[in-house]
Amino acid sequence: MSGTRVLPGIPKNKRTCLHKVGLSGEYMKKSLFYKVFGTYLVITLIAMLVVGFYATRQIQSRLMERIDTELMSYAQMININPSQSEIISKINSLSKTSNARITLVDSDGVILADSDEQASGMDNHLNRPEIEEARVKDTGRSMRFSKTLGMNTLYVALPIKEGPAIRGYIRLARPLTEVRHYIREINLLILQSFLIVGFLSFLIAFVFTSRLTSPIHEMEQFTERLREGEDPGSLMINSSDETGRLARNINYMVLELKEKIQSANEEKGKLESVLASMEDGILLLDTDDKIEAINDASKKIFTTRFHDIVGKTPLEAFRNIDMQKALDRFKETGTPVSREIILGEEDQTELDVTISPVHGLPEGKEKAMIVMHDVTRLKKLEKVRADFVANVTHEIKTPLTAILGFIETLEGGAIDERNTAKKFLHTIHDNAERLDRLVDDLRVISDAELGDMKFSFEDVSLNGVIENALTVIERKASEKRLVIEKEIPDDLPSIWGDRDRLHQIMLNVLDNAVKFTPDEGKISIKALDGKDGNVYIKTSDTGIGIPKGEISRLGERFYRVDKTRSRELGGTGLGLSIVKHLMTAHNGRIEIDSQLGRGTTVSLIFPTYQEDLTA
C-alpha cells in the first residue's frame, strides 16, 4: 500500500460493480421505445378488433336482409301466375334472372322441378324447415348448409295456393358467397388500416421516446461523469415539465455535493497533514484488530524489521507481549491505556504507547488508535544523568572514606607509630590526589560541556605530541612489561590545535591502552597522513576489549564496561569522555573498534591545518 490512507474512499472494485448494474443510455432508450410503441400497437389492435367485429356483424345482417327481400320478391313474382307447367318449362331462365336456385315442390313434398338438379333423384322436401314454415305462416326462410351447393345457403319458400288449399311450394335458394366475399374485403380493409396505423404509431413512438429520453440520457451521462469524479458542469435542460424540474434539482444537488466533497477533502487534507507531520507514530486498528493505516512517523519508528505491517494484527506485526497485554487491557476496559513498551532487541526502541478508542464511526463500530511516542533518547538521557549523579557521589565518596578512615586511625593512636603513620599519610595523600584528579577532570568536562573551555590554538606538530605522551606513559608500560610499537612518519602534517589539550587527549588514550592491556601485551601506535585532509592516529592494544553493545556508551561520563576493574586501575571513568569533548573542540572525531578478548583500536582523526583554513 502506498502512502498513508487515513480515510478510505469507495474501493475501486465497488465502482466497477456499480457500473455493471447501471443502465446504458442506448438500452434505456430502446426499452422505453418498445414500451411506448407496444402500448400504441395494443391499443390500435383492440380498436381495430372492436371495429371489425361490429362492422362485420352489421354488414352481414344488412346483406342477408337484402338477399332475403330480393329472393322473397322473386318468389312472389313467380307465384303471381302459378301455372306449374309454365314454371317448370321456364325454371332455368327464371333461375338465371333471379340469380337463385329455384325448386318447385308439390303439396306432398315431392320435387316437381329444380333449376340445378334432376328432380327425380331428390328426397322428399316436405320436412325442410323453410317449407314447413311456409305451410304454416305463408312464408318460410331458413339458412343452413346445402349439400347440393356445398356452402351456407339462404332458402326462401312460398306456398302456391288455390283458394285456401295449398297446391305446392316454390323455393328459392341463394348461396351466401357474396356475403363471405364482402366480409373478407372488409377484413382486408381493417388489416390494411391496422398496418398503416401501426406504422404511424411506430413513427410517433420513436419521435416521442427520443424527445423524452434525450434529456434523460443527458442527465444519465451527467451523473455518470459525476460518479467518475469529473467536474460535470451543470445540466442545460430548458423544459418546464418533469424532466426540466428534475434537471434543476440535479443541478442543485451537484452544487451541494461539490461543496460537501470539497469541505470533506479539506478536512481529510488537514487530518492527513497533521498525521503525517506528527512526531508520534500512529497506528489505526480496524474492527478486526488489524492494522488499517499508519503514518510516516511510525514508519520511522519501525525499522526494517517491522515493514509491511498494514493488514496484520499487532501480534503478527510485533509479537510483543507488553503491547498485546496493553491491547487486551484496552479491549477489556474500553478506556485509553498507556504503557511503556520496548520494541526490538539489538537496538531497542522504547515507546510510550497510548491506545485509545476512535469514536464517531457509523454503525457503532469502534476502532482503536495506537499512538507511539519514541522515548528512547529521553530514557537514555535520563539514565545517563542518573548514572552521573550516582557515579559522582560514588567516585568522591570512595577516596573520602579512605581518607577519613586513615585519619581516624591516626587520631586513635597510630600517629605515635612513626612508620605506620607515614604509610597512612601516604595513602591519604594518594586518595586526596585522586580526588583532586577527579575534580580536575570533572571541571574539564563541565567546561567543555558548557563551552567555557579556554583554548590557545596554534600550529602543533603531532609528532611532538605523540612523543611527549609516550615518555609519560613509558614508565607505566614498562611496569607491565608491555611492548610499544611505533609507526610514525616524521613528516606528519601539523594541525591547528591547543598543545596542552592535544597532549591530554593522547595521554588519556594511551593511558587507557596501558590500563586495559594485560601484562606482556602489546600496544601499537600508527600515525599517517590520510591525504584526504585528515591525520589518523591509531592506537591498538591487545587488551580485554569491549563488548559491541557498549561501544556507543563509552563516551558517557563515568561509564565503565567493567566498573570494579576500572576503579582498581585508578581510572576516574572520565578519560574517554574528556577525549571525546576535546576532539570535538578540534573538529576531529574518535572511532573505537573492538573485539572482546582480542583488543581495542582507538582512532583519532584530526583535520589538517590546511583543511581547517579552507573550512
Binding site: D308, G311, K312, T313, L315, E316, A317, R319, N320, I321, Q324, E345, P547, L596, G597
Partner: protein, 230 residues
C-alpha cells in the same frame, strides 16, 4: 488463510484465533529465553524467577492451542492449506512449549550459578544465546510472513549454534581439568549451553514446519538447501 476468505466467518475467526494464540505463546517464549539468559549474564536472579513463573502461562496456552486445533479438525474438517496450517500449529505449539521448558531449565541453572562466583567471563555463551534467540524470532517471523527463504536461513544458522556448543564444552573441559573445584559450575554452564542448542534445534524444526505449511513439501530429516548444493 488471510488471502482466501472462507464461507464461514466463524471458521475464519477460529483459524485466526489459533494463529494469534500461537504468536502470543511465541512472544512469551522469546521473552522467556531472553530473560533466562539475562538473568545468567547479568546475575539477576529476579529475572530467572520471572521466567520460571511465566512457564505456567506458556503451558496453559499450549493446552489451549492443542484443544482448539483438535476441535477445529473435528468440527470443520479443514482441507489443503488450512489443514497444513493446523498440522503446523500443532507441531509448532509443541516446539514452543518445549522451548519454554528449556528456558526454565536455563533459568534454574542461572539461579544456582548466581549464588557462586563465575568460572570465567562469558564470551561464547552470549553469542550462542544471541544466535539462538535470533533463530526463534526468525522462525516465528517466517511463520507470520509465510516466508520460506527466512525459514531456510534459520535452518542454516543451526550449525553455528552446534559449533558454539561444542566449543563451550571443550573450553570448560580445560577449566575442569585444571581446577576440579570448577567442575560443578562448569557442568551447569554446559547444561545451559546444551539447552540453548536444543532450543535452536526446536527453532529449526519450526522453520521446517513453516516450509511444509507454505509449500506442502516435507523437508524434515533432510539437509538444507545449501547442503544439497554441495
Amino acid at each position: 488463510m488471510a488471502e482466501k476468505s472462507h464461507t464461514s466467518i466463524q471458521y475464519e475467526k477460529e483459524l485466526q484465533d489459533i494463529k494469534e494464540t500461537l504468536l502470543y505463546e511465541g512472544a512469551l517464549v522469546e521473552k522467556a529465553i531472553q530473560y533466562a539468559m539475562q538473568s545468567l549474564l547479568e546475575r539477576d536472579s529476579d529475572r530467572a524467577r520471572n521466567v520460571i513463573a511465566a512457564d505456567d502461562r506458556i503451558n496453559e496456552l499450549d493446552k489451549r492451542i492443542e484443544e482448539n486445533c483438535i476441535r477445529l479438525l473435528a468440527l470443520r474438517q479443514p482441507a489443503a492449506k488450512d489443514l497444513r496450517f493446523i498440522a503446523t500449529a500443532i507441531k509448532v505449539n509443541g516446539h514452543l512449549e518445549r522451548i519454554g521448558d528449556l528456558a526454565v531449565n536455563i533459568a534454574r541453572r542461572a539461579l544456582d550459578l548466581n549464588e557462586v562466583p563465575p568460572v570465567k567471563p562469558y564470551v561464547d555463551l552470549p553469542r550462542m544465546s544471541d544466535i539462538t534467540r535470533e533463530m526463534v524470532k526468525e522462525s516465528l517471523d517466517a511463520l507470520v510472513k509465510e516466508d520460506c527463504e527466512l525459514a531456510e536461513a534459520v535452518r542454516e544458522k543451526d550449525e553455528k549454534v552446534d559449533n558454539l556448543n561444542e566449543q563451550i564444552f571443550r573450553e570448560l573441559l580445560t577449566f575442569m581439568l585444571e581446577d576440579p573445584k570448577t567442575i560443578h559450575r562448569s557442568l551447569m554452564i554446559t547444561q545451559i549451553s546444551k539447552s540453548l542448542e536444543r532450543i535452536s534445534d526446536h527453532a529449526e524444526s519450526i522453520a521446517k514446519m513453516v516450509i511444509y505449511m507454505v509449500t506442502g513439501k516435507n523437508v524434515r530429516h533432510q539437509g538444507t538447501a545449501r547442503d544439497s548444493e554441495k
